[in-house]
């Protein structure tokens, strides 16, 4: 299920950076897990059978990616915690996913736009991470970037279909933009952790990423005949544990079994 990690955790990252690496890897893990969780809520309820399968495929990719990051984070931490301990036994304020991915599915237009905003960042980030100096992160990114390339293709095409579809689909996409655009900025606004990792070259400069992302967005929105939305006030906080109220409900479902029956194996 998860990406096989290299045998030797040989990382060329300075030791001082490894205490920044742990929270960052956790952030990547939480992000993929929470979005996978949201997408999995569609399972059995998709607009057409073929797209039900497509949504589940994306969720499975992200879940696999999350597991690789959690396993790596557990290793970095070195406290004997497992992937499940990290995923199931932390509270909302300890979660480090950006706000965007915890937003509810809403209608299909909301799900598509949320996915597009995320995929656009995710794909471009992974392309850099796979050539980055941290060998474990690079290995995970190497595998995940192929998946993310497909996700971005899928969500971009759906943005185009909905934007240049019917009046109703356009209205719904506009509404999704009005709701979700403000959560896009957090993805490329570095936290102190990310800045520290950028300074030592583990993470790419987000300004460069942003340029690639904006070029892609411009292309997709033009195809979709949708005017580029004006920059919105960026809601920040998820990556430092300040979440919207939605996350608590999500976690209470996600963690139900582990919290109800502590310490058991399933």
């Amino acid at each position: 299920m998860s990406a096989p990690l290299p045998e030797t955790p040989a990382t060329s990252v300075p030791a001082a950076a490894s205490n920044q690496l742990f929270p960052f890897v956790l952030q990547l893990a939480d992000t993929s897990l929470i979005l996978a969780h949201r997408l999995s809520e569609w399972c059995g309820h998709g607009p057409v059978l073929e797209q039900d399968l497509a949504l589940a495929n994306i969720a499975l990719d992200l879940l696999g990616e999350a597991r690789s990051y959690y396993q790596y984070a557990a290793e970095l931490e070195g406290q004997g915690r497992t992937e499940d301990d990290l995923a199931y036994l932390r509270s909302a304020v300890e979660y480090r996913n950006p706000l965007l991915v915890e937003q509810p599915n809403g209608d299909f237009a909301h799900t598509i736009l949320r996915q597009f905003l995320f995929d656009n960042f995710h794909y471009h980030l992974l392309r850099k991470l796979k050539d980055g100096p941290d060998t474990q992160l690079a290995a995970i990114a190497e595998k995940s970037v192929k998946e993310a390339a497909y996700h971005l293709k899928w969500s971009s095409e759906w943005v185009i279909r909905l934007g240049d579809g019917t009046d109703e689909s356009r209205k719904r996409l506009d509404k999704a933009i009005a709701t979700l655009w403000r959560f896009g900025g957090e993805l490329t606004t570095p936290t102190a952790t990310e800045t520290a990792l950028q300074e030592i070259g583990v993470l790419p400069d987000y300004a460069a990423l942003l340029a690639e992302m904006q070029a892609h967005t411009a292309h997709v929105f033009a195809e979709a005949t949708v005017p580029l939305p004006a920059p919105a006030f960026a809601q920040l906080g998820g990556k430092t544990g300040r979440h919207t109220e939605h996350l608590g409900y999500l976690l209470s479902e996600l963690q139900y079994m582990q919290r109800t029956y502590p310490g058991l194996t399933w």
């Binding site: 897990l33 059995g44 309820h45 998709g46 607009p47 299909f108 909905l162 240049d164 109703e168 399933w266």
Partner: protein
């Protein structure tokens, strides 16, 4: 051969091909009743896959570990795939998926009653995989040799994918049974709820199943309901014993003479009540499907509209 075919009616020729184990393909002549029965049977099977996603889908967001979450999501997604393969097979008979879905949503078409029971604990994911999929496989494996080609080919694909479903269910049960007492209790409690409904999956007793003879002649059914039910009990009782669980039927006892297990009578009143729509979850299950379809209407329309716009633009450009 020449002379024989001259005296045989089309129906007789058709039956002769089936008796010779020659597959029937979409454009071949077939009796109307064969076509109708197949559409009903295949679509009912497809609907079961579709509705069957709901009771398990219910637990994807609550799965107790990341590994179990991945497995469960992949499994429920497979069911969507199986529904799709089966709808496709039925479409070769001249119906449409829209028509079949309309029949499901109006209550005209049936699906397997087992999915009208609620999933209440994590152990239900074990029971659904181990028991329900186990029962389904008994039904499905013989259908890989069914007389209608597209149906048989769909079933080959389904069975190939289904094989991991039962194993993962058994593994869930085994993990529970080897775990803490509270987990073992959870497993036993789930078995208590699922055992009898699973036995009902094979349908009414042979004496109350008037269409069985014709379906067996047409080789779209290869064993009778009671035969399959017996096979299932013979297969499952030892597996339950291996797990250290007790099948909730005091009448279960090995019969040396028959070389099979004796077992008690299914509660047929309950069976018919659920078939007629009075199971605990009939309403919710159907409602969930109708809702998904209606909520998806604008999405499907948008994609059609965009495809038409794009085609028109390409035509102008060309």
């Amino acid at each position: 051969m020449e002379t024989l075919e001259k005296v045989l009616t089309p129906e007789e020729q058709f039956q002769a091909r089936i008796d010779a184990d020659v597959r029937i393909e979409p454009k071949d002549w077939m009796p109307d009743a064969y076509r109708k029965t197949l559409i009903r049977q295949i679509s009912q099977h497809a609907h079961s896959e579709l509705v069957g996603m709901l009771p398990e889908g219910n637990w994807i967001t609550r799965a107790p570990s990341l590994k179990r979450k991945s497995i469960l999501l992949a499994k429920v997604q497979d069911e969507a795939g199986h529904g799709l393969y089966l709808y496709s097979a039925a479409e070769t008979l001249g119906t449409t998926r829209d028509q079949m879905l309309a029949d499901l949503h109006s209550g005209k078409a049936k699906y397997s009653s087992i999915f009208n029971y609620p999933t209440l604990s994590w152990a239900d994911m074990g029971c659904v995989g181990w028991l329900v999929d186990g029962a389904a496989i008994l039904n499905q494996v013989p259908l890989c040799r069914t007389s209608y080609g597209p149906y048989a080919r769909a079933m080959v694909r389904v069975c190939k994918e289904e094989s991991f479903h039962q194993r993962q269910g058994f593994e869930v049960m085994q993990t529970l049974c080897e775990g803490a007492p509270v987990q073992k209790e959870m497993a036993q409690e789930a078995l208590n709820r699922w055992w009898w409904p699973t036995l009902m999956m094979f349908g009414p007793k042979d004496a109350d199943s008037p269409n069985t003879a014709q379906s067996m002649n047409w080789r779209i059914k290869r064993f009778t309901n009671d035969e399959l039910r017996q096979k299932f009990v013979d297969m499952m009782v030892p597996q339950a014993e291996f797990l250290g669980l007790t099948v909730p039927d005091p009448a279960v006892k090995w019969n040396e003479e028959r070389q099979a297990y004796d077992f008690g009578e299914v509660n047929w009143d309950e069976f018919w009540a659920v078939v007629k729509g009075n199971g605990l979850c009939n309403h919710e299950r159907l409602q969930a499907r109708v809702q998904a379809h209606e909520d998806g209407a604008w999405v499907r329309e948008a994609a059609n509209a965009h495809a038409a716009k794009r085609a028109a633009r390409e035509a102008v450009a060309a």
